[in-house]
Amino acid sequence: MNVEIVGAGPAGLYLAILLKKLDRGVDVRVHERNPPDATFGFGVVFSEETLGALRDADPETHLEITDTFARWDRIDIRYQGRELSSRGHSFSAIARRRLLEILQERCRELDVTLEFGVEVEELPDADLVVGADGANSLVRRFRDFGTKVRTEGSKYVWFGTDHVFDAFTFSFRETEHGLFNAHAYPYDERMSTFIVECPEEVWRSAGLDEMDEQESLTFCEQLFANELRGRELFSNRSLWLDFPKITNKTWYDGNVVLLGDAVHTAHFSIGSGTKLAMEDSIALAAALARRRWNLSAAFIDYELDRAPFVERTQEAASESAAYFGRIASYSHLEPIQFAFNLITRAGRITHATLGVRDPQFTRALDAWLGGKAVSPPPAFSPFELRGVRFANRFELHERTAAVSAEGALAPGELTAEGWGPPEKVLLRLAHAGRRGATQPRERGVDLPLAEGWPIVAPTPRPYSPFGAIPEPADEDSVLAAFVAAATLADADVLEIDMAHGYLLGSYLSPLTNDEDDRLRFPIQVLEAVRAAWAGPLAVRLSVTDWHPRGNTVDDGIAIARELVGHGCDLIHVEAGQTIHDDRPQYRRGFLTALSDRIRNEVRVPTLVGGYLTTLDEASTIVGAGRADLVLLDLPETEIERPVTTSNTVSSEVPA
């Protein structure tokens, strides 16, 4: 068996070591196009669990690696002249160059052939070929792995500095061009990694697109002089980059297998690249051992073992990349909330899990929201909207009323005339528009009644297959119906339904309204209801149509801004259902990111649902300022099992 590994980064070298340990008789060669001491970037980060895996896989290198490690357990956040700190996050880092030295030396000890300065021009001829040659993999080009490369996040540049940070430090600097941020962490007793990041428009505005390497280094050094405590930045071909997110449909082809950045990348802001790469090496070596070098069986095991974990990490990394891209919209948040939002950005840390790691931090957050030194979690914090005080963030009873018989969804539905005794509720005033006159929702949605009533919409297009063709709405009477309902309403919050393709929602979308001024009528209704109702007024809005020709999130933000300008106090964030054939993106909490954008870009309180099933989710969302009120979808509790009585034991008492 002979093995050719292309790329002498951490993944390639570590695999070589593990394969030699598995079978000393195997011939392992590693090619690298660069010299042995060339390396890009400065330090790399590991987590506790990765260290455990490295210890089990090769105790010798583990010992050397941990010997030169920098370790810390704090995240520091420097923001608006304050510095907040959260504990309990175990990190460690090592100089990339030192890591490579350790691995190279161990390779030599184990008789791995290392060849540097060799460019791969064709696929090496060997029993097993490994592409460990990074994000710009050449090996990947010789076969079809279904590779996809997309750019994600902002512009960024890697530097080193001789200021030794004592924690993972996030710093933010406001400039006339916009907000810059830096990610810094120590990697040995002398040096730290220092990554500077900013959105592309900020980068251009600052003229960084036209600066050379030295100029941009000086710019960053001056910008973050405070954080660097007057120390220097060091360049190592430190150019501004776009981060490529790489995915592959398959991780192997025939006798060729990919690992590390060649097969998947994860945005640097969650610091998982090297960790994922070395874990790949461990998984591939273990699969080859288990399958006794049966390559195709081992490759299947390797991919099935790694892919789900890698996918989850990539998802979290993308969330984190997007977060740093829109960082400027959070500049209104209080430092404690800003910090909690940052810590929970990737969806991997929640209020409850942070509470285990760092109870002091969550206690400070809870106290800030709750107004008392000892306060319950954010979901239980009070909230006030236009003089109405909510005891907590989740106990909001939704009720929907059709403003008129014409606008009812289904027969027998509650209409304004038929309300029961008042209770503490959010009352939604709806006109179903072209989604009206349907069968009750028990068996399905948008199933037209055999004998329905005439329905109305801005365009004569039915909502669903076999649906009736709508007629134009009598806007005066619709307006009057909304006003009449608002006048009669007895509720804590009144809500106008402009979502999900109901009448007012269908006015808002280019998919369902051919008019140019699509906000005209919805704004008229909003103003009239505002005049008739003095309490908190919400609008339920589909902030995106989830369709290529429909409203985008940016459109939704612009619409929300208009609504707020005309008297709306709260945006109830929804998405899609404007038309029958949209392309929704469902998952747990699928509306949270949209609510975050509306709340922090429009600066308006939001209400959000989107399949949230736990109070912890509510606390994380409210604590991080992604929404102000949360609708929970609580599943029926099913903790009791049916009692089974054994039929061999008589339950009767013997006489």
């Binding site: 949605v445 199933l447 076999f466 392309r583 929704p584 993106q585 747990r588 399949y611 009791e640």
Partner: protein
């Protein structure tokens, strides 16, 4: 308080395993009906040595009296809407109301070519078919009655989940390890909530087994899924080939919230059914 439900286990009929005779398929259904299984289910494919799902279930209807009869799934858009409704309603009627109609858009263009049906627009057509069947469109003219047909929808796109939540009673997953099912199930539940449906959707999962000759099962799966390229090997690697693997799989699906798990044979031998029964005991 609602009691925590246990997953029900159904068994597939080997309608897509070459070599299955009509006699064997009916005997398989008969024994499944007498055994611990809650359903018998079939797959759908045109260009292969396989049986048509509704014709098979009509036969199974006569051979059984208890189990549900399920398509897991049938490719709706291969059939015209009225004919699909008529076939489904006929099986439902013949079985005394035991049909679970799983529908999806299918994955192979060659099936559409062979059936002489446009591949493009299949998603939209499936939406129409669901609206037609569930909405009782033309029900006064096109019988027999569709009342009580349990409908499932499969697929992994956002549109598939929306169709499921809009028109169906539940979700039909396409197989894989329990964690893949759990991910799909949470998307299905999110869609259900988004469409404002009361209660919760029925969540159906599926897997493959070969408890006698594992190599034969593997060869069959690699052949059956050859159209997926390298993915065929991964599907074959997931074949359940021991009692332990079956037990773990069922437990994993139960933890992931599965209501009904259908295990499909990959070897045409009636003894496979007995082996599965023993593995489940």
């Amino acid at each position: 308080m609602k009691l925590r439900a246990e997953v029900k286990v159904g068994v597939g009929l080997p309608t897509t395993v070459p070599g299955a005779t009509g006699e064997l398929l009916l005997e398989w259904a008969r024994r499944a009906d007498a055994g611990p299984f809650s359903s018998v289910a079939v797959l759908d494919r045109v260009v292969y040595d396989s049986y048509e799902p509704f014709a098979t279930l009509a036969g199974a209807a006569a051979a059984t009296s208890r189990v549900r009869l399920a398509t897991m799934i049938a490719i709706g858009p291969l059939r015209s809407t009225a004919m699909l409704a008529k076939q489904a309603a006929s099986v439902h009627g013949l079985s005394g109301g035991r049909l679970t109609l799983g529908l999806a858009v299918g994955a192979r263009t060659e099936d559409f070519d062979a059936a002489g049906v446009e591949h493009k627009g299949r998603g939209k057509r499936l939406g129409e078919q669901l609206a037609y069947i569930r909405g009782n469109v033309d029900a006064d003219r096109v019988g027999p009655s569709r009342d009580g047909i349990e409908i499932l929808v499969g697929g992994l796109s956002g549109q598939a989940y929306a169709r499921m939540a809009r028109y169906a009673d539940g979700y039909a997953h396409n197989g894989g390890p329990p964690r893949a099912f759990a991910g799909a199930a949470s998307r299905a539940l999110a869609a259900w909530s988004d469409l404002g449906r009361p209660g919760k959707p029925q969540l159906w999962g599926q897997g493959y087994f070969a408890l006698g000759d594992a190599a034969r099962g593997e060869a069959y799966l690699k052949d059956y899924y050859a159209f997926t390229g390298p993915f065929a090997e991964k599907i074959a690697a997931g074949n359940l080939t021991s009692a332990r693997a079956v037990k773990d799989f069922v437990r994993g699906y139960e933890e992931a919230g599965c209501d009904e798990l259908v295990l499909f044979p990959t070897v045409v031998e009636i003894d496979e059914l007995e082996r599965l029964q023993e593995a489940l005991a």
